[in-house]
Symmetry: C2
Subunit: 367 residues, 2 copies
């Protein structure tokens, strides 16, 4: 989508012997810098350092990382090493494993000399499929927003979202924000409450930034404010993404999602989770207590980076020196709090039955 | 209580013609600066700028502000003007009106020449009564913590608190943290999960700071993390303060409290609110939709102030320039989510009946 009028994707490959390029999201919204991933290790670093983040984009980046690795060393042992390196970058988003499984299946059966080019083709196909999936999610979610808009008589539909599940979290369009962009382009008045999303502030730095780029009305709020807004009737719909969804519809997503789902449930606000099938972990019967939750650095809680008045990026401490901090990066929202799952195939009830109705081919997968 | 081994209160008056002193809480935890309030206008400014905050301390500061005003101009008109000025500083904490009503009742019947000294006496009495109330709250809450400790066989009791309702929010001891200090002094192992409390970060800047001063084990967390910790069984008790509690037990407190109460309810974690009777608004039948919620500056959401590496206080922007932000400062937790109210008279059910059992003299107050 657009940044200051110019179209971007979050990751793209260029050239005969492709180089891979990403937007370095750690510098947004303050600086737009394109970074080149020349080697598999660069891709692993970009995922671990959260230069790219968001479950679908983590998957696409891992795929390109594997392709870069296939060019460096197409032997089985080298490729397995690259896979392990990429797989260890982040534990929660299942798209990482999903993409690497696809890459391995496409590449390992081939003779070494054919592997690199096949790997780049497969990575491009994963990225392209993500764009198609996210566009389809936008279409299915648009129908929900249209229904709400019909009841509001022209007043804006107020959508609350947590973290960034927009186009910056995917290759394009996004998951949770794809329906918002679809509604905006369809001429429906829509306004987004943007949760700041501490401790990394992805709402402030990424969601507000990308909504501004597309001209969608939005208001930034502290993560604490969503419950109050729902209690006051100022939220029509919650839309979030997912990093991993279990076969029963339990949803792992950015820390704090569970609190918003509780508030939505308490106030009768519909709570939808948007995700492509690459985020479904059919092997996991349920999510609460089972999905691995990444524990990140205490410094993300005790320090904040932003733009100082002199235009430099500066990091400030907000807590006394030496304050211990815990930083779980995700939580799991039980399926009972989820109104529905918006996938590329349509809207499913957050249950094994609901998901199997859309994905009947998974009926045999042991969970 | 203690800061680096030295005992402080949050507000104190010194001398024959008293000067009033406060800790400037906007500079904590980075700098400990004592500020003098010489005139009523200084007290109003200190409350409005949140140099002092916390419902009990707002009440005590308003009382001293009224006394300073009585010294400047003891005439009825002057005193009413001072009252209006102080009353308009912040809308949510009912202790402000409560303290000013007490001051007016003590001062206005006297001849002008006697008013200033009587006003300082009354203000000192309000401050002293707050210390006594908070110490009593600590004693009643201690019994709850002892019960939990008995079940944990020596392992620390994990208390989650939101915002700062410690001694810095009162004159001494605090409300929600008074039981924690009482338990710590009684030799009970206690550990506090400290919600950061965006957007002003009172948890990081004040609660972590005062717990460190008293040597109480604590861990700072993003506001988003509490639900996850409760789901994982890592919280034994939630303890928060209140800015205004309606006669039915609905609790206005710092924005985000409602979300934690929902999570506590969903996970069977006891959720207690600690407050002196000065925080009870008997005239308000219920709180949801009725308690005025202060809307503060968008800049508190879009910018963060902290200590830069060079030791200066620096403010950084975390959102794109011009991002609109909403900043409701409080929310209301319905009484149905509150396990009990800890007051200076004991623990009450969060209901009109429960409160009247402790405060039978209010039975006639029309709500």
């Amino acid at each position: 989508l657009r940044i200051q009028g110019k179209f971007y994707r979050t990751i793209w490959a260029l050239g005969e012997a492709p180089t891979v390029h990403i937007i370095d999201q750690t510098l947004l919204p303050h600086r737009l810098e394109i970074r080149t991933l020349a080697r598999a290790a660069d891709a692993a670093e970009a995922i671990a350092a959260m230069r790219v983040r968001g479950a679908p984009l983590i998957g696409a980046t891992a795929a390109y990382g594997y392709a870069l690795g296939a060019r460096e060393d197409p032997a089985d042992a080298g490729l397995e090493r690259v896979r392990d390196q990429l797989l260890s970058t982040r534990p929660t988003a299942v798209n990482l494993r999903w993409a690497l499984d696809l890459m391995r299946a496409a590449v390992l059966p081939l003779p070494p000399a054919a592997r690199a080019s096949a790997a780049f083709e497969q990575a491009a196909s994963i990225a392209e499929a993500d764009v198609v999936s996210c566009r389809a999610i936008g279409g299915h979610g648009l129908a929900l927003i249209e229904q709400l808009a019909a009841r509001k008589g022209g007043a804006a539909v107020n959508v609350l979202t947590h973290c960034n599940a927009g186009w910056l979290a995917a290759v394009d369009w996004g998951t949770a924000l794809a329906p918002v962009y679809a509604a905006h382009r369809a001429g429906i008045a829509v306004h987004v409450w943007v949760d700041e999303t501490r401790p990394r502030n992805q709402g402030a730095s990424l969601t507000a930034y990308e909504l501004a780029g597309e001209g969608v009305a939005h208001t930034l709020i502290a993560d604490n404010a969503g419950g109050h807004l729902m209690q006051q009737g100022r939220v029509d719909l919650c839309l979030v993404g997912s990093d991993r969804t279990a076969a029963n519809g339990d949803v792992a997503n950015k820390i704090g999602t569970y609190l918003k789902a509780l508030a939505a449930h308490d106030n009768g606000v519909p709570f939808y989770v948007a995700l492509p099938c690459s985020t479904l972990d059919w092997g996991l019967a349920s999510g609460v207590g089972s999905i691995p939750i990444e524990e990140r650095s205490a410094r993300e809680v005790t320090h904040v980076t932003g733009l100082a008045a002199d235009g430099t990026l500066n990091t400030v401490a907000i807590a006394p020196p030496g304050t211990p901090a815990a930083n779980p990066a995700f939580d799991v929202t039980p399926a009972r709090l989820v109104t529905g799952l918006i996938t590329e195939r349509g809207v499913a009830a957050a249950s094994r039955g609901g998901l199997l109705h859309l994905y009947p081919e998974q009926a045999g997968t042991p969970a």
